[in-house]
């Protein structure tokens, strides 16, 4: 009975969020084109500098000559990460500004179920838009992906998305307390782009930065997708170990994120009140 109530709150929240997303179609179109836009400049720059040798030069460090595909996947996972951050951070800020966050807290429905519902909506949306964006990018840049490992790529995507929402919840806790998103998103985007290797392989990093990068779940997601779709060597010993690391993040990330979020909630309930902007 309790489980069915929680499930209903979760799925109704997902439904409502998807409905709201569907009503702003221009932003959805921008999301579809974003990975190609992110990849466009470095692809053209690579071709301008190295000409026909670009692929060979790139392969020395990245393990593939398909640098357009490499950048396109980087752009795609960057979209997934920014959607998680923007999605969640903006969701909380908009709920606060719009006055609906207070109303959500007035209802007996569990906030954990609401947050899970919002995350599920963004995960479903991101998965669809990522696939669409890869097809658009592949057509635009005439990139050929390996499709023989497509199920494994989808497994990386499925296991790699929840940890992003763990990070997004940590970020959401910050927004809940500070009531501000934009400056943090700028910083988060810059750090993310750097750490997860959107434009270049993380093998180029100095050791310390490489360690930090490997602690960051999107790095494993990006690399897992590149390994499966471009035949780049895996970060560890093979696909199972890489997927295992990502699975660990998949479990630990959302738990840590929720703990941080509920701690912030508790603090706010005792100090200035919940849902206030």
């Amino acid at each position: 009975m309790i489980l069915s109530k929680i499930t209903r709150v979760l799925f109704q929240t997902t439904r409502i969020q998807l409905l709201i997303l569907s009503k702003t179609w221009t932003s959805r179109l921008a999301d579809l084109l974003m990975p190609s836009a992110v990849a466009l400049v470095p692809i053209l720059l690579g071709r301008a500098i190295a000409g026909n040798e670009a692929g060979l030069q790139f392969a020395r460090h990245a393990g593939t000559t398909n640098f357009a595909g490499f950048l396109l996947i980087g752009g795609g996972t960057f979209l997934l990460v920014t959607r998680a951050f923007w999605g969640f951070g903006h969701w909380i800020q908009q709920e606060m500004q719009g006055g609906t966050l207070e109303i959500l807290y007035l209802a007996p429905g569990s906030m954990a179920a609401i947050l899970a519902g919002v995350a599920l909506a963004f995960i479903l949306y991101s998965a669809v838009i990522f696939t669409g964006a890869m097809i658009v990018g592949a057509l635009l840049f005439q990139v050929v992906f390996q499709t023989n490992q497509l199920p494994l790529a989808l497994a990386f995507l499925a296991v790699g998305l929840p940890p992003l929402y763990g990070l997004a919840l940590l970020y959401g806790a910050l927004v809940l307390r500070l009531k501000e998103t934009d400056a943090f998103i700028q910083i988060a985007q810059w750090v993310t782009t750097l750490l997860m290797g959107v434009y270049f392989p993380i093998s180029l990093f100095p050791l310390a930065l490489k360690v930090v990068s490997l602690l960051f779940p999107p790095t494993w997601l990006t690399h897992g997708l590149r390994s499966t779709l471009l035949d780049v060597p895996y970060l560890s010993t093979g696909w199972l170990a890489d997927l295992g690391v990502l699975f660990f993040y998949c479990v630990a990330g959302p738990i840590l994120g929720y703990l941080a979020f509920s701690r912030t909630e508790k603090g706010l309930r005792a100090s200035s009140g919940l849902g206030e902007f």
Partner: protein, 333 residues
């Protein structure tokens, strides 16, 4: 009748940072609520009155579990706030924030369906409740349109429907008619009154005296975090019964007001500004006896008078008699 809301010794102290210089802060305590004791009976229409910053919103937030009190106890519908919060929330229907408290990108029906799910209504219960609200609030033509196409009054009506979606017997309404035009406000007041007559317990916060006088049977006046007066509207007015009121408007220098306050037959003077004009509400024992002295006193202090009239005692006068201020004055600290 039995108590449906019991508030015992409720205190809320905020700790805020006060800037004292560049990168220098000092922690400051603000007593938003001080030892509030209140009992609201089942089926009552109870008004919480007070100027902005008096503590009404803090009290509402404590009642609705959005804010944890520093000390004290609240029991709502038999459930303890702080220990049985989900049950407390299920017992309440709240209209806070008016038209802001709904999703503008969605239709009215989508909004109501979502909030019904958050209150654990089954799909069948949801359909029945929406149908009931559709006829109660005349929502028919609105329900399948996006909220962003609604007028301000229509948005508030939908927000009110949202507050009723769980069919709770206790309604907390925070300034429900604030953004409405006169006919819409009247219509909403009529509906609220009817709901009370059918058994709903209603707590209304407002700084509109006429609204409170029209609707509420009992009132608590809150100022600086304390309840400074409580009782039925008739009782509160009766407390000032021996007083009579004179309202004077004009260009009145501050020393003239001070002189009035020192006049022996004057009980209290409340001042407010309306543009260049000062409005005085003067509480005296007997208008006939005091008026000549008042006029003489004011004129001798170079006051230019525009309007002088006796007045009936209103709730606003009760507040002014207790605090020396009008309800429109902000007391945020």
């Amino acid at each position: 009748m039995s108590a449906i809301i019991t508030i015992l010794d409720l205190t809320k102290t905020y700790i805020v940072k006060e800037r004292t210089g560049f990168l220098k802060n000092r922690l400051k305590e603000i007593n938003a609520l001080q030892n509030i004791n209140l009992i609201i009976e089942q089926g009552e229409f109870f008004g919480l009155l007070g100027p902005n910053g008096a503590g009404k919103t803090t009290l509402i937030k404590c009642l609705t579990t959005l804010l944890v009190p520093t000390s004290g106890r609240i029991v709502i519908n038999g459930f303890e706030v702080g220990q049985q919060d989900a049950r407390v929330r299920a017992s309440l229907g709240c209209l806070l924030g008016g038209e802001r408290s709904i999703y503008w990108k969605l239709t009215g029906r989508e909004n109501l369906e979502y909030f019904a799910a958050l209150y654990h209504l089954s799909p069948a219960q949801t359909r029945a409740q929406i149908k009931k609200l559709e006829s109660l609030l005349n929502l028919g033509p609105l329900l399948d349109r996006p909220v962003e196409t609604y007028s301000s009054g229509q948005k508030t009506t939908l927000a009110f429907a949202r507050a009723l979606i769980n069919d709770a017997s206790i309604l907390i309404l925070d300034e429900p008619t604030n953004t409405l035009d006169v006919p819409s406000a009247q219509a909403l007041r009529r509906i609220i009154k009817n709901l009370n007559e059918t058994g709903y317990t209603i707590i209304l916060t407002s700084h509109q005296m006429t609204e409170v006088e029209e609707l509420c049977r009992r009132v608590a006046i809150v100022d600086h975090g304390k309840i400074i007066a409580e009782g039925s509207i008739a009782e509160l007015k009766r407390d000032l019964g021996q007083n009579q009121i004179i309202k004077i408007e004009g260009v009145i220098p501050p020393n003239a007001v001070t002189a009035l306050e020192q006049q022996q037959d004057v009980m209290n003077v409340a001042t407010s500004q309306a543009g260049n004009l000062t409005q005085l509400t003067i509480f005296v024992k007997d208008i006939r006896q005091s008026l000549p002295g008042l006029m003489q006193n004011l004129l001798s202090h170079n006051a230019l008078l525009e309007h002088v009239s006796p007045a009936n005692i209103t709730l606003e006068d009760v507040f002014m008699a207790k605090t020396g201020r009008t309800l429109n004055q902000d007391t945020s600290r």
